[in-house]
């Protein structure tokens, strides 16, 4: 909600419109996806869930799917708002932002799965975000701020990698549950 105040979203061309989306809006992925495993991090709740017939992985998938849906809706609404403010927005811009948000969120999810601590898990996507400020283009196809330069191919890479990371996080949770 602060984005229009901080950045100004009126009358931007496509490259300029990508800036607030890449820098700010994409961070919503971290907020929505990283805490997917949080409820089960409490030992009491974990024991309770483990005693249920329902497969915990299906519960995680439901959480991931509705988090992604909310993510898409939020970004779509904001992109529409930018369009109303005479910005040159497009479906590619929206999907690119979704891909970036998913990537950051999936990094947090993987961190949460590995460390079993949501607070610590937030540091993974944050570190990656910081690295993009400094080293940026050296990250190649995983550079987060490429849409401002008119490059949309990285969005595909970010999306595919985010899907892989999400499934990897689920696999790690499966192994942890099997071990316990």
């Amino acid at each position: 909600m602060l984005t229009p105040v901080l950045f100004g979203v009126s009358g931007l061309d496509e490259k300029a419109a990508a800036i607030p989306l890449e820098i700010f809006l994409a961070l919503i992925g971290i907020v929505l996806l990283t805490p997917v495993f949080q409820p089960e991090q409490s030992p009491d709740i974990n024991d309770l869930i483990a005693s249920k017939y329902v497969n915990i992985l299906s519960v995680y998938m439901i959480r991931i799917l509705y988090s992604l849906l909310v993510l898409f809706i939020i970004l779509a609404v904001f992109v529409c708002y930018m369009g109303i403010c005479n910005c040159e927005v497009s479906i590619c811009l929206l999907l690119g932002t979704v891909a970036e948000a998913m990537f950051l969120g999936s990094l947090g999810m993987l961190g949460a799965a590995v460390t079993n601590h949501t607070a610590v898990a937030y540091s993974f996507p944050l570190l990656y975000y910081i690295l993009n400020y400094g080293t940026g283009r050296k990250l190649g196809n995983f550079y987060l701020f490429s849409m401002r330069e008119g490059q949309y191919t990285t969005a595909g890479w970010l999306f595919m990698t985010s899907v892989v990371l999400i499934f990897l996080a689920l696999f790690i949770k499966y192994l942890q549950r099997k071990k316990s």
């Binding site: 061309d13 300029a16 949501t118 610590v120 540091s123 570190l127 690295l131």
Partner: protein, 448 residues
């Protein structure tokens, strides 16, 4: 004893391992962990010594005018109204106002200026060059026509001779640029104190030599490298990541169900909280100091016959980085104690985000009063801009003392919150839940 326990709790945790990895990775990515090959050579006659900004009206006015016309032509103005990058596109009325100002400065008719921009873009605002000798234009009826003649340059561009009128004084020019800045909403490169950036002049041999001498006598060579290390360490890691350690440590009591057991101990809240704070600071600063010395050590062999300041890394770690670490840690401890949630990560993350992006305009130096991480990004190519650092030393000291003072204040508040909890007074999220439950109970009672 308690200090050692808290210290061990921090350093023997996964979050601490991640912090150290983050520190090393982030600094290595910026090339400040090893300065081998980055020796500051004494300036030699005939070299390029870089550029500097100087307020020379004869230099600034034409360059600023050209820049304004370029942005006017594209109707795309870059501003930093609250420190953040913002691209401004003006409506027709405001574009005419800009055209009016350009007209007053150059003597060119406003309508000619305004229409030349539209003509240069073609009848429908778009023209395409499809080969060196071909040009495709969209006609009024939507069809396209291709011309194989040499594309004519825009009549407007050819005829426009953007020269400042000779009777325009620098003061009048500054006032005109101020009007432009107001139209753009502030924060543009045409505001009064930003105009100097248009006056870039080469640094002379004598000036370069003076700057080199300052590096020798003030920084003792190592200080400049230590300052660059602190700049990156502060902004990338030390003003944000310590909050994770603080949150994890403070929430550990609750997650281990030790809170009530600790509450009944005889040790005072002040002692408990302060030692925890101290343990966090020591744990964070330990790898920072090691990395800073590792980084600076690579410099020592580069200047064998010179007097070096071997304490420079430690001085900058304490004076530059430590206050940022203190603030980040204090925010983490205070908000975690207040709410029993990791909300401190979001709060500190937001502050860090604003701090980093607000410095976008002033990447080279930023010593604002409430800067979480001051900036002084200068390497050997600019001879570490020791002069600039010395000139802003007062602002820097004020900022660092303020950050340290605010951090101590937050720790005092944390002690009070902790003491309140020990005495059975709920706070933060518990208090909100209690109030909500009370309201719900009263409503149920009244309905019954």
């Amino acid at each position: 004893m308690l200090f050692r326990k808290e210290f061990n709790k921090v350093v023997f945790s996964v979050s601490y391992l991640i912090f150290v990895l983050v520190l090393v990775l982030a600094l290595t990515s910026q090339g400040v962990m090893n300065y081998k090959g980055e020796e500051l050579e004494p300036p030699q006659p005939g070299q390029n010594y870089g550029v500097k900004n100087k307020e020379i009206p004869e230099l600034i006015m034409p360059v600023a005018l050209e820049s304004l016309y370029q942005e006017f032509s594209a109707n795309s103005y870059t501003t930093y109204p609250i420190g953040f990058y913002k691209n401004v596109k003006l409506n027709d009325r405001k574009q005419e106002e800009i055209a009016q100002i350009l007209s007053e400065l150059t003597g060119i008719d406003k309508m000619e200026l305004y229409s030349s921009v539209n003509e240069a873009d073609g009848e429908n605002g778009v023209s395409y060059v499809i080969s060196d000798s071909g040009e495709m234009k969209e006609n009024e009826d939507g069809s396209f026509s291709i011309s194989h003649e040499e594309p004519e340059e825009s009549a407007g561009e050819e005829e426009l001779n953007l020269i400042l009128l000779p009777d325009i004084s620098y003061e009048e020019f500054r006032n005109a640029m101020k009007q432009v800045d107001d139209i753009l909403g502030g924060g543009s490169k045409y505001e009064a104190d930003a105009l100097i950036r248009f006056g870039t002049v080469p640094v002379s041999y004598e000036e370069a030599w003076e700057e080199y001498e300052l590096v020798k006598t003030v920084d003792y060579m190592t200080g400049g490298y230590a300052r660059l290390f602190s700049d990156y360490a502060g902004v990338m890691v030390c003003s944000i990541f310590p909050v994770f350690l603080a949150v994890v440590l403070c929430m550990k009591d609750r997650s281990s169900r030790m809170t009530e057991l600790i509450y009944v101990r005889t040790r005072s809240s002040a002692s408990l909280v302060f030692l925890r704070f101290l343990a966090l600071l020591c744990a964070v600063m330990l790898p920072v100091i090691i990395c800073s010395y590792y980084s600076n050590w690579s410099v020592w062999s580069m200047y064998p016959d010179m007097k070096l300041d071997y304490l420079a890394p430690l001085k900058y770690d304490i004076a530059w980085i430590l206050p940022s670490v203190m603030m980040s840690t204090a925010v983490g401890m205070c908000l975690t104690e207040l709410t029993d949630t990791p909300i401190a990560i979001a709060v500190q993350g937001f502050w860090w985000f604003l701090d980093v992006n607000a410095g976008y305009k002033t990447l080279e130096r930023a010593y604002g009063l409430f800067r979480l991480a001051p900036r002084h990004n200068a390497d050997i190519s600019t001879r570490f801009r020791t002069v600039d650092f010395m000139e802003h030393m007062q602002d820097f000291i004020t900022n660092r003392l303020l950050m340290a003072g605010l951090a101590i204040l937050l720790i005092v508040i944390t002690i009070m919150l902790y003491e309140g909890k020990r005495r059975g007074k709920s706070s933060g999220i518990d208090k909100i839940k209690a109030i909500a439950a009370d309201v719900s109970y009263r409503r149920n009672q009244s309905e019954a």
